[in-house]
Symmetry: C2
Subunit: 691 residues, 2 copies
């Protein structure tokens, strides 16, 4: 009698599985390579008709997995049966290659066997293993399935008649009845028992009911059924192997000859003439079972497309939208920080911070780039200038071509560059001149209306963002956004350059009833850019010589200051107190800055001011308290702005003494008591277009 | 009798004057606005024939200045006469506008007058003034000429006959004689005296010879000649005004009636029929000269093209080659550093340093940008990878489009970007894998030949450059360039990133007979990247998990480290001892780092190593001595490389223990005496393509 050959499972992996695995790896598994339970499913085998020969060709015996494979308790689609599995994802390709495949396989086979013996249940008979390595940078997935199946020794044989059409033995009513009863199960059964009643009816039971269901039934009336994923006319599918092993192990005395139904009808044929596709055969096995509980050997590693035992590769990159690939790649690089180094880092807090950059020069370009590195999705730039020939070598969002024909507007040009770098970014540029104290608005309705519109535009932009970066080229242009930013409670970051020195600071937040620390004590009000001044900001632009107008700074200064400003923001937003985060106490070093103290964020210290000195490669933290006569952030100024709006601002622009009188600085000045040092930082200077 | 009207000078400024002024301003004048002597020239006035009417139209009475105007002792072209002038260039447009023009003008007029009275010379009669403001960022030049001319009161009148053709009074032989005698002068004379001899010959003398030359000559035989830039038939040119003033001041008694020759013949007419263009007229002035030495009033500010008294503007930008504009703009920004802040800065030392960047990832891109900011003209990048989707947001020379279709080669792509940013740069990219210890060369002639070729290529590249930056993603890939760089005595700069920490260092230079400091003591041999190691570099790339493979760093880290590395180079090349510059002593602060000591460069300190800690916004300088068992720079290793060449390197690549045995590190290791701490820096990781 011919030996029964079985058609092995052929894995069918939906790309959605890899996307889901990617998310799981990045967000949950991280460095873990622990086994993850998954599920798959298979249906009755299908054929297609060869167009030329008209012959029916069997499709592969697919076991399908997809994104749903990771869902706990997922039910397979109607008519399909579930297979449970285990996914083991390795961290490196070397580990994937070096994994002890024999041990892994035997472990799975043993688990199936132990389950049979211990529980007499069929539920793990289709258990499978999937080992993977996910190269998330390239969207390449290396994988290898194993479908452990026990080997019967001696082999099963099939009777001379071979596999016959089930309809030769069972009539349409009986076959329809099997179909109906199979479909009635809560969970689709991969295996089932049938019993031909005297009445001609077909009784149906799960395989676990073998002993009672067949208690006094003649072998000719017994039919062992299984949902057969194989459409091959002679070779039944892989699930039959473990079903036979199960029956031999548990009922060795009654199972040396079995009538087996290869159930292949997911639907009842529509017309009487259509053949039922299921088959029946009688299988025999010779010899005695000496030790029914001894695990037979098992086989079942899937072959690769070359027919060799080896892993397969799914390369998803060519299938993916490049823009999405870029977005995922950027996301991945950030999320990797949380795997090992900073599990508590809240990336969303950074990436969702909407950033307004006032100034699209050297500092603005470098700040935008560093923000993009942190995954910040909304970056808006404001500048009034055009790209000039000296810009591109120092301002890393511009090229030579941007300088031609008089130069593109800097803010818009920088925003375009950001989109060219990363299409997923929401970048906008606005050409806008920021009105300044000491630069009177020319008399006349038109120019006042223009100033009013400029102020309104700036107010709107600040409203729409969470953090405002002051990256302009003069001291006085920082005044208006300082006032508006403070009044609206925004994060305000400030960077200014000298020749080889820089200042980076965060403006202190306005006190509010919420502004108490964890210890319940009110937060110290930190100073702003103007808090150390004893004069109001005034015109520092007119009458500048060329070296004062241009950015005369060491080229390494701006990238350092810009990166410092962005990292100060990233540390700030990670701090539980946010904008109220206390600066580290003076002379804090790493050993006594316990994050438990509440001083540090997960990224470390959140200083108030940093002054960098390139001639010594040194950066010094400083803390400056808010000043109650400050022309930028004192309550007097903020309340006057909030009460009077544009008319107050207009006075500040036009009247050199207004702010000093308002704050009382003039009295201090009159007393000639210059207690505070007025450090005159040489500002970064971009193009001046005021002549 | 009609009053004589004079045609004023019309300035003709060659663009070359502005280019020359630009250079002068940037390199010499800097912030000085002291008067600079210049010269101009004018020729005899010319006419053109109106195409429609056939009438002769007088061209403007040009005084021409150009780049030659700044040359001391410059002689005007043949037939033209020189005018001397003064250029005063203001630092700001405000100063230019606010300049006291009346005072300036009177000062010039007084100088002319004083010269007449004191020296009786005519050489300053055509003296002119040019005030300017050069907006070098925009190539816009604001300027205003003054040609001071004395006003005669009462005015000169011309006889009824007016200006007659000179040929009516002088025959061709006489006119030709004047032409020849004028041309024979060593310096073209603007004015001259003629005397009609009885013989019919024409005697010729400079104006200064007035008294003797005309001692006993009848007024009818006297002719006062001047080279007339005016071609107007009735109005003689401006130079006549001061000539008349000169004569009235010095010879008041004999000059109330003068026969004046407007000399306009730069060439002798070719044909007898052609008219001589010169004219003769008899000028009269009435009244007595009461005080001949009293300076008359003067006029002469040039009108602008609108016919108003006001400055003119030359906008050169549209005329210039944009590439040249860019080169000059970049140059300007750097040279401005020397105006006020660092006059002794040697920019050429930086810009001429040829830089080789090994690694075109995050660090490589930022280093290239900062070098470009310093004006470095030769930047060569080496990388073996391709641009991947996660790169552009962190690697500032790449864009999304560079990632498509598998990604462009990084080194070449980065070099192309540098050229797009600044066309004047000499940027090249090379795709090259650097062989590494611990990564054995696969056996076989082909792979060994490839490794040999790769080594030869790297050796050649290092030979061709002055400074080598190690900006790769692994510890061991830095070994080969460390050895070659040390052997060839190159500047080697190294930057490596952790998550929020960086290391930037310069490798110590190999001791040589030249390597003694100013004090004659030998320089301390500073360490290299490997000097702290007690094991040889080995494979750290295989078996890395995703977070170890990718650049898991705070985005602000790379720009800071890259800028630090470039500024370390800029400080180093400014130091008189260059690569042997001593690091600042420990705990040096600004107050005791006297540049006279020889420790600092003009840019400040030249540390050996800098370790940055972003979690504290802190950078710490460190000094590490060279280690005589170092696998990277010890004499043992360098001599083995120099003696055995590639075969020594091949052993190092293939045999994990070779370097430890060679240096004796193995013995140290055997003793189990780990005296030195082996700090394991987490390297920046770019894409790994080794699977």
């Amino acid at each position: 009698m011919p030996i029964v050959q079985f058609t092995p499972f052929s894995s069918l992996v939906q790309p959605s599985l890899w996307h889901k695995l990617t998310d799981l790896k990045i967000d949950v598994l991280k460095l873990s390579d622990a086994a993850v339970p998954i599920s798959g499913s298979y249906s009755t085998g299908r054929t297609i008709k060869d167009r030329e020969t008209g012959q029916e060709i069997a499709l592969p015996c697919n076991l399908t997995v997809g994104s749903e494979s990771f869902e706990e308790g997922h039910k397979p689609p109607h008519g399909a049966v579930a297979a449970i599995g285990t996914l083991k994802n390795y961290n490196t390709i070397e580990e994937f290659k070096a994994a002890d495949k024999t041990a892994l396989f035997n472990q799975e086979a043993q688990a199936i066997w132990d389950h049979i013996i211990a529980t007499r249940s069929t539920e793990q008979l289709n258990r499978f293993l999937l080992i993977t390595f996910a190269d998330l940078k390239k969207y390449k997935y290396y994988y290898w399935f194993a479908f452990p199946a026990f080997v019967s020794k001696p082999a099963w044989e099939i009777g001379e008649e071979g596999w016959r059409e089930a309809s030769e033995e069972l009539d349409t009513t009986q076959l329809s009845s099997i179909h109906t009863q199979l479909r009635a199960q809560a969970n689709s059964l991969p295996y089932f028992l049938l019993r031909k009643e005297k009445s001609g009816e077909i009784a149906f039971a799960p395989v676990e009911a073998y002993e009672t269901f067949y208690a006094s039934v003649a072998p000719e009336e017994q039919i062992i059924g299984f949902v057969d994923p194989s459409a091959d006319p002679t070779n039944p599918g892989w699930p039959l192997r473990n079903l036979l092993a199960y029956l031999r192990a548990l009922y060795p005395n009654t199972t040396s000859k079995l009538r087996v139904l290869r159930w292949r009808n997911s639907e009842i044929p529509h017309t009487p003439n259509t053949l039922w596709k299921s088959q029946i055969g009688v299988l025999h096995v010779s010899g005695e079972v000496t030790d029914a509980t001894a695990r037979p050997s098992a086989v079942g590693w899937e072959k690769n497309p070359h027919g060799k035992l080896g892993p397969r590769v799914a390369d998803l990159a060519p299938m993916m939208d490049p823009t999405r690939l870029a977005a995922q790649a950027v996301d991945l690089n950030l999320k990797l920080m949380r795997w090992r180094i900073l599990p508590s880092l809240d990336l969303d807090k950074i990436s969702s911070t909407k950033c307004l950059l006032l100034g699209a020069g050297t500092l603005g370009c470098y700040v935008a780039r560093a923000l993009m590195g942190w995954g910040v999705r909304t970056i808006t730039l404001v500048d009034s200038g055009k790209v000039s020939f000296s810009n591109p070598v120092r301002q890393p969002l511009f090229e030579f071509a941007d300088c031609l024909d008089g130069g593109k507007p800097k803010a818009e040009c920088a925003a375009e560059a950001l989109k060219r770098i990363f299409p997923g970014i929401n970048a906008t540029g606005h050409t806008l001149a920021i009105p300044m104290p000491g630069h009177p608005i020319p008399p006349g309705a038109a120019s006042i209306a223009q100033a009013k519109a400029d102020v309104a535009k700036l107010e709107q932009l600040i409203d729409e963002h969470d953090a405002v970066f002051l990256l302009m080229d003069s001291r006085e242009s920082r005044w208006l956004p300082t006032v508006i930013g403070a009044a609206k409670g925004k994060i305000v970051l400030n960077a200014a350059l000298g020749f080889d020195t820089f200042l980076v600071m965060r403006h202190g937040a306005r006190a509010s009833s919420l502004s108490t620390g964890k210890d319940g004590k009110p937060h110290q009000r930190l100073g702003c850019y103007y808090c150390n001044d004893i004069v109001a900001p005034a015109d520092s632009l007119t009458d500048r010589t060329l070296d004062q107008m241009c950015t005369v700074t060491r080229p390494g200064l701006a990238p350092t200051a810009a990166a410092t400003a962005v990292e100060l923001l990233s540390s700030l937003v990670q701090h539980p107190d946010g904008v109220f985060a206390p600066p580290p106490p003076p002379n804090t070093n790493s050993s006594n800055s316990d994050p438990e103290e509440g001083v540090n964020s997960v990224l470390g210290q959140v200083p108030h001011q940093l002054r960098g000195f390139l001639n010594q490669f040194k950066t010094m933290p400083l803390v400056g308290a808010g000043y109650d006569k400050c022309t930028g952030c004192s309550e007097t100024v903020l309340k006057a702005y909030e009460t009077e709006g544009f008319s107050m601002l207009l006075q500040a622009f036009n009247d050199a003494k207004y702010l000093e009188t308002l704050t009382g600085l003039d009295k201090l000045y009159d007393e000639g008591d210059a207690l505070l040092e007025n450090v005159d930082w040489h500002e970064e200077g971009e193009d001046e277009d005021d002549f």
